[in-house]
């Protein structure tokens, strides 16, 4: 039996191939973590934050360190520090663990989009070995959490679109909010979602009636309207409530996107109550 036949036999068993690919991704990331030096840009700021967070709490941390840094990475590192693990090791551990989920995400997205398991396995393989993804996974940076979280958010979105499920859109909103607390660029995803809903509604209704306001009362149209409005409501509600929770929990953390908005809301509430 030659080499090509062995490969063909492995590829026939999709689950085993996927597990092998994910293991390859983990091994590559661990090798990279061992051989790389640890003196990464900005990471000393996160280490200091994590140690302060574990010892004195969030408010002390944000009053003494850079206030513009999102809380997810220092928080996870502080959890590790409380258990006696170096912040650096915790950061790399979460980077590798989340980074090795990328092949799964790529597999699911491509399988749902193209409906071909062989191409999905190939996408998982690329996700496991892509040099940029391998290299970023083992660095103590916010990106090593942000990129896998975005991949998971994409999976949630694809699953929600496939099954027309409001629950999965809620899960998408939760993951996107986590991504926002890893890097503030995550807020783009809410804009992406809003644009997508707009595009879908336009395509659905304009395509059907040639006129955007000529909505008939057919059951299919009503189900569509219910689905989009419920998805919109749940995504925005979960997103805003989680942001509000973080805004009040870590009041000194300056989120350049939400802080201005919440401070306006705060001042309005204050002015109402003082009157």
């Amino acid at each position: 039996m030659d080499f090509i036949h062995i490969l063909k036999n492995i590829a026939k068993n999709k689950a085993a191939s996927l597990i092998l690919i994910v293991l390859l991704g983990i091994v590559l990331r661990i090798i990279r973590a061992i051989e790389m030096n640890r003196y990464d840009v900005d990471c000393y700021i996160y280490f200091n934050m994590a140690i302060n967070w574990a010892n004195y709490g969030a408010n002390y941390t944000y009053s003494n360190c850079l206030q513009t840094i999102p809380p997810l990475l220092p928080f996870l590192m502080s959890l590790g520090y409380k258990l006696g693990i170096q912040p650096e090791i915790t950061g790399i551990f979460f980077g590798i663990m989340l980074g090795s989920l990328i092949p799964f995400c790529m597999f699911y997205i491509v399988k749902t989009l193209l409906k071909r398991a062989d191409l999905a396995l190939l996408a998982a393989f690329f996700g496991a070995i892509h040099p940029s993804l391998v290299r970023i996974s083992v660095r103590c940076l916010r990106d090593s959490l942000y990129i896998p979280l975005i991949a998971i958010a994409l999976v949630c979105a694809v699953a929600a679109i496939k099954n027309r499920s409001v629950v999965k859109w809620s899960l998408f909103s939760f993951v996107v909010t986590l991504a926002c607390f890893a890097r503030y660029e995550g807020y783009e995803f809410i804009i992406i979602f809003l644009i997508w809903v707009f595009v879908e509604i336009v395509i659905k209704f304009v395509g059907k009636h040639n006129h955007p306001f000529a909505i008939t009362h057919s059951p299919a149209t009503i189900i569509d309207i219910k689905y989009y409005s419920c998805s919109l409501f749940f995504v925005l509600a979960i997103f805003l409530s989680l942001n509000l929770f973080v805004y009040y929990s870590f009041s000194l953390c300056q989120n350049r996107y939400t802080s201005p908005f919440f401070s306006i809301v705060n001042s309005i509430i204050d002015s109402i109550f003082t009157k």
């Binding site: 193209l114 690329f126 997508w196």
Partner: protein, 247 residues
């Protein structure tokens, strides 16, 4: 201006081999299903790219390739569409000349080539800014516990953190004209606090800096570190210089 941006997209975010597959996917656009999922992924790509371009245009500091890594997910998803197209393209030209190479074999060779190049790149050049390691080792091996740095650059701060020393900027303890550097250093040294001085300049540039201000140079060079365009010079206080001073 955008050449650098495109370079980052091509080399880091996509990686050349994957980018070629994406180009084949564009040629094979009929295979892409134009459904809601595709529209979501396309909007994700376009909006992310738009924000990255805007960010790139308004950013004064160095633009890191890692800001573009979310696009990598898009490139991977669409590279697989190009893969089968590329296999068929190669089959047209190669299988006629070398009949042994069937479409399956061509595809396996392609996967091997992509795999080797990606894994090679992923595991290569582990010594990211190797000079940092050297400087940190020198400071750790000495008994000195203070690091005086010229500018508050990120590299200097992280060296101080990993070497386990306290770090002060010049501005925090000295005047800007550096006239009191020799006096301040000699005082610190006589208190028993051994001090390193680290500057993100070459030795010549730093000496010229003192010459221009007509200030004496009380430092002894330990080593100059160079990598690409970055240059660091590590100094310690010149003990002989102290004996020449008259107070």
């Amino acid at each position: 201006m955008f050449l650098n941006f495109l370079n980052l997209v091509f080399l880091d975010s996509a990686f050349p081999v994957i980018f070629i597959l994406v180009l084949f996917a564009v040629l094979n656009y009929r295979q892409i299903p134009l459904n809601s999922i595709f529209r979501f992924i396309l909007i994700f790509f376009l909006i992310t790219l738009l924000f990255r371009v805007l960010f790139y245009m308004h950013m004064d500091a160095k633009y890191n390739a890692r800001y573009l890594y979310t696009l990598t997910l898009f490139f991977i998803i669409f590279s697989v569409i190009g893969f089968s197209e590329m296999g068929e393209f190669l089959q047209k030209y190669i299988s006629k000349k070398i009949p042994v190479l069937t479409i399956t074999r061509i595809k396996i060779f392609l996967i091997l080539i992509i795999g080797v190049s990606c894994i090679g790149k992923a595991l290569s050049s582990p010594d990211y800014k190797s000079y940092l390691k050297e400087i940190i080792q020198i400071i750790r091996n000495s008994e000195k516990k203070t690091l005086l740095i010229f500018d508050e650059t990120k590299d200097c701060a992280r060296i101080a953190y990993h070497a386990g020393v306290e770090c002060f900027t010049f501005e925090s303890i000295l005047d800007k004209d550096l006239k009191s550097l020799d006096y301040a250093l000699s005082t610190i040294e006589r208190k028993g606090i051994k001090t390193f001085v680290l500057v993100e300049k070459s030795d010549n540039d730093f000496k010229n800096f003192f010459k221009e201000r007509k200030t004496r140079f009380p430092l002894k060079l330990i080593k100059e570190f160079k990598e690409k365009h970055i240059c660091f010079s590590l100094y310690e206080y010149d003990v002989d210089y102290d004996s020449k001073l008259i107070y």
